[in-house]
């Protein structure tokens, strides 16, 4: 068992891949010097404030802006009357509808909280005051508030998500032991600490956007297409992002409003989306419903899994939150059936939130497995091991690596699972009922081509340059480590420059695909830079290493020398001076040889077209985890506290365990929030999000969180990535909520299948 003990940094290994180097950009963050999107000083700034709809559905008949325009300092009010001249942009995969106007302030209202007007003023205070004075006259239509609204219906079947093998219905009917239940998750929100917003500035037909971005090249393309500009005319700048969790991967309507206002006014515009407006300016995780039926033999061998899922979507886009995503791959089963539906309601289109699909999916299957264990009278750990999937039964392919058995057994050992008493309500501590539960999680390995640049400067410093971003995952840190190892240069001699669409393109920081993709590109580029350096040192007429007779040279600890010690050992500045070079610049990418044209490259960096899924090769590739949760439930009040968590992960090789452990814990903590607190509440009369602030939409505070022990059981997976890692960021949350729900059942004997696990459901 490899328990990750916290270790002081300073070891010689810290600068290499796998070392526990402290956060590379950490000094900037602890001193307040890291500059986030809305913090760039721009001369002549005007401030825009959004006005959002107050009805669920209908038409804006008229907007009376006269009072708003009379407020001193107000420069402009944009309404649905204004033709902003924008065209709809491509979707994530690069598909674009032809000649379809884009209306970021539409006349047709499809949800409460939709932006329908914007006020621009000299100061933010003036714009806020004026925004309250904008009068909107609607023609209201009946709306569908949410998935539980009687008018919502059963929704549409998503045929592309139907999965089946064997004969699940027959096997279920024939199974001697059966469980079947419905599991429900509510709307959940990202609540990144940095609210969304941007500053947009035009210089002629050049647009600069400072906006938090999980994908600078993707959002660059988005703005370019809206405004009909060549892609290179747009620059997205985003070196620091105050959390994203899936919410900052695409440009959103408010961005178009700010950029259009800036163009109309002829001066830069800053638009800060308020915290309440963040709840409807983009979608959180959709509310989900799923029925799971499990059939098993009397000794606990799974015979059939039947899954029927549904999630809310908007009335204008079908967004599937795939509640059947984890169901087929966690266990060995010969008969399987899954179908998913989307239910249109009057909401903003839901979006990807940490562990999309897999997260609510695991809530279903992992609760159902424990329900089966109790029905069988079997230890839930034993049931999971008994039905261990030796390969991927969905694709039929072997796993690249799957250390889920190790995660279960080593997690159980660290947790002390063998001391568990099986019966519900059989463990207590005074008035506190104590319960233990397990939840497994998974997330697929996604990969995308990426590019990087290495610049070796005359002063010996090495720049690693990429348009990739760091929103806290540790991109700066692991790229410094990757370049240090591949080049043979100490990490303190390296600078990392990220977060700008003018830099080489990169995978999105989403779907846990960035680290594996961009370290591969940087490793390749750094190795090429090292080769170029060695080539110059061996062949350049001015190189002191030219006549040493060495066939090759090594670069180690920032010095270049022959392996046998012939000739001098030169530092990089010494070699660069001898060569008379001010810099050596090397750019490489991981696109195939036949896809290196500029068109191919632009498409690769700004769309998902070349993303590789988990089963596109010979193997089925995924990250895995097992969470062990202990809860204490107050017998009188029904309050639930999580008192202990042990989680074991297989994420392959860890590029920097210190950063990885932080991400794992972060995912687990978000999972605790999901289990106990988080729930978007909708007013059934008008579709309004009632708790649109962080005092009412509760996210975990420090005092809600116990010490969390995380364990790595992974092994390097070189099918999954160049350096052997699998995804880290998403998987941490997957399986946490069911582990806690299962622990609450063990503590209380009450099975709550409807998140969050609030006290009213336990009394």
């Amino acid at each position: 068992m490899t328990i990750m003990e916290t270790r002081k940094h300073g070891s010689a290994a810290d600068g290499l891949v796998g070392g526990r180097l402290s956060r590379f950009e950490g000094d900037l963050k602890v001193t307040g010097a890291a500059t986030y999107a809305l913090e760039y000083p721009v001369d002549g700034l005007a401030h825009a404030v959004l006005v959002q709809s107050t009805i669920a559905a209908g038409t804006v008949v008229a907007v009376d802006a006269s009072q708003a325009l009379a407020v001193p300092g107000v420069l402009m009010v944009l309404t649905p009357e204004d033709d902003l001249g924008l065209m709809t942009a491509s979707d994530w995969y690069g598909n674009r509808p032809e000649n379809q106007p884009f209306l970021p302030l539409p006349r047709e209202v499809t949800y409460n909280g939709q932006s329908i007007a914007a006020v621009v003023g000299e100061s933010r205070e003036q714009a806020i005051e004026a925004a309250k004075l904008v009068r909107v006259i609607y023609e209201e239509k009946p709306g569908i508030a949410d998935i539980d609204d009687a008018k919502a219906g059963k929704g549409k079947l998503m045929d592309n998500l139907s999965v089946a093998w064997g004969d699940a219905e027959a096997a279920f009917a024939a199974a001697p032991v059966r469980v079947e239940a419905e599991y429900r998750t509510p709307r959940e929100y990202h609540v990144a600490m940095e609210p969304h917003g941007l500053t947009a500035k035009w210089d002629g037909d050049q647009l600069t956007v400072w906006e938090p971005s999980q994908w600078t090249h993707g959002m660059q393309r988005n703005y370019a297409e809206w405004f009909g500009l060549p892609i290179e005319n747009v620059r997205m700048i985003s070196p620091f992002i105050g959390g994203g969790f899936g919410s900052k991967g695409v440009a959103l309507p408010y961005g178009a409003v700010a950029a259009a206002a800036a163009r109309k006014l002829g001066r830069p515009v800053k638009l800060a989306v308020t915290r309440p407006q963040n709840f409807t300016s983009y979608g959180g995780r959709a509310a989900t419903r799923q029925t799971i039926a499990l059939g098993a033999t009397e000794d606990g061998v799974l015979q059939a899994i039947i899954h029927r899922g549904a999630n809310e979507t908007s009335t204008y886009t079908d967004y599937p939150e795939q509640t059947g995503a984890a169901t087929p791959i966690l266990y060995k089963v010969e008969n399987f059936s899954s179908q998913s539906r989307v239910v249109p309601v009057n909401t903003v289109t839901p979006g990807a939130l940490r562990g999309p699909g897999k997260n609510p999916s695991a809530f279903g299957i992992e609760c159902a497995m424990e329900e089966l264990a109790y029905k069988l009278g079997m230890d839930p750990l034993e049931l999971r091991l008994k039905n261990y999937a030796d390969h991927d039964y969905q694709s039929g392919k072997p796993w690249s690596t799957r250390q889920l058995r190790e995660a279960l057994t080593q997690g159980a050992e660290a947790f002390g699972w063998s001391r568990r008493s099986h019966e519900p309500r059989s463990m207590r501590d005074g008035r506190q009922l104590v319960g233990w539960g397990i939840g497994c999680g998974t997330f697929p390995v996604l990969r995308a081509p990426s590019a990087a640049m290495i610049r070796i400067l005359a002063n010996g410093r090495v720049e690693v340059v990429s348009g990739a971003i760091d929103m806290g995952q540790g991109t700066y840190t692991i790229l410094a480590q990757t370049a240090s190892e591949a080049l043979g240069v100490p990490v303190d001699q390296i600078d990392v420059v990220l977060g700008d669409s003018r830099l080489p393109g990169s995978a999105i920081a989403g779907g846990s695909m960035l680290a594996g993709s961009i370290t591969g590109a940087v490793h390749k580029t750094a190795a090429a830079a090292r080769d170029e350096l060695i080539g110059l040192a061996l062949n350049d007429p001015n190189s002191p290493l030219r006549d040493t007779g060495a066939n090759t040279l090594t670069v180690s600890n920032g010095r270049i020398a022959s392996e046998l010690g012939q000739g001098p050992a030169l530092s990089l500045p010494e070699l660069m001076a001898a060569l008379g070079r001010t810099e050596i610049e090397v750019v490489r990418n991981t696109l195939p040889e036949d896809a290196q044209s500029l068109t191919d490259q632009n498409a690769a960096w700004s769309s998902m077209a070349r993303v590789q899924g988990p089963t596109m090769g010979d193997y089925s590739m995924h990250s895995w985890c097992a969470h062990f949760a202990e809860v204490r439930v107050d017998e009188d009040f029904g309050t639930v506290r999580v008192s202990r968590i042990v989680s074991a992960f297989d994420c392959g090789r860890l590029y920097n365990p210190k950063m990885v452990e932080s991400q794992w814990r972060g995912g687990i903590i978000m999972g605790i929030g999901q289990a106990l607190f988080e729930e978007g509440l909708v007013d059934g009369r008008n579709g309004r999000t009632i708790n649109n602030n962080v005092g009412d939409y509760l996210v975990p505070t420090n005092s809600d969180i116990p010490h969390i022990q995380v364990i790595s059981v992974g092994v390097p997976d070189h099918q999954a990535s160049a350096l052997g890692g699998k995804g880290v960021g998403e998987v941490g949350i997957v399986g946490v909520a069911p582990a806690i729900a299962n622990a609450v059942f063990h503590a209380t004997g009450k099975r709550v299948r409807d998140l969050p696990l609030t006290l009213d459901k336990l009394l």
């Binding site: 602890v30 990202h190 600490m193 940095e194 959390g243 806290g472 991400q663 505070t701």
Partner: protein, 158 residues
């Protein structure tokens, strides 16, 4: 409202002249008018703690404080706690060592709260640290490391 008022604010030991509307908050005065952007805006309604600063050594939420309220008082922000020579404050160093942040957006507020928490003497146990650091939300979930950093900095200060 267009009337402005003249204010002199003492921030991090330096005097700053301001000509702002009376409704401007301390947070917006810092971020929009003085380019002291280390103090963060997470909610603008007193719920998240990202805007935590010190006024006369006590932690306050600068989004719920008008700039005009703090004239003549000593304001300290994240930019003002490191040593003159640039050495990190022990709490800043502990946050870096323990990886007590990821995205870094709540971090200035966490650190300003932590400095005050230690000064207040609310670091007797991990439970006490958790409770007195609970006004500062961290969505990345660095809470375990925040507790470890505050504990270590508090021990070093004893």
């Amino acid at each position: 409202m267009t009337r402005t008022i003249q204010l002199t604010l003492d921030i991090n030991g330096h005097s700053h002249e301001l000509d702002v509307e009376p409704r401007v908050t301390l947070l917006d005065a810092l971020r929009e008018h003085l380019l002291l952007t280390g103090t963060k805006k997470g909610c603008d309604q007193g719920q998240c703690g990202a805007c935590t600063c010190h006024v006369d050594g006590k932690r306050v939420l600068s989004c719920l404080t008008l700039a005009a309220q703090v004239e003549g008082r000593q304001i300290t922000t994240i930019e003002g706690i490191a040593a003159e020579n640039g050495d990190l404050h022990p709490v800043q160093a502990a946050f870096l060592e323990h990886d007590a942040f990821q995205c870094g957006y709540c971090t200035p507020g966490q650190i300003m709260s932590a400095v005050a928490c230690i000064k207040e003497g609310h670091t007797g146990s991990d439970e006490e640290i958790r409770e007195y650091m609970s006004g500062n939300l961290c969505r990345c979930g660095a809470y375990n490391s925040v507790v470890a950093a505050v504990r270590e900095a508090a021990e070093a200060a004893r």
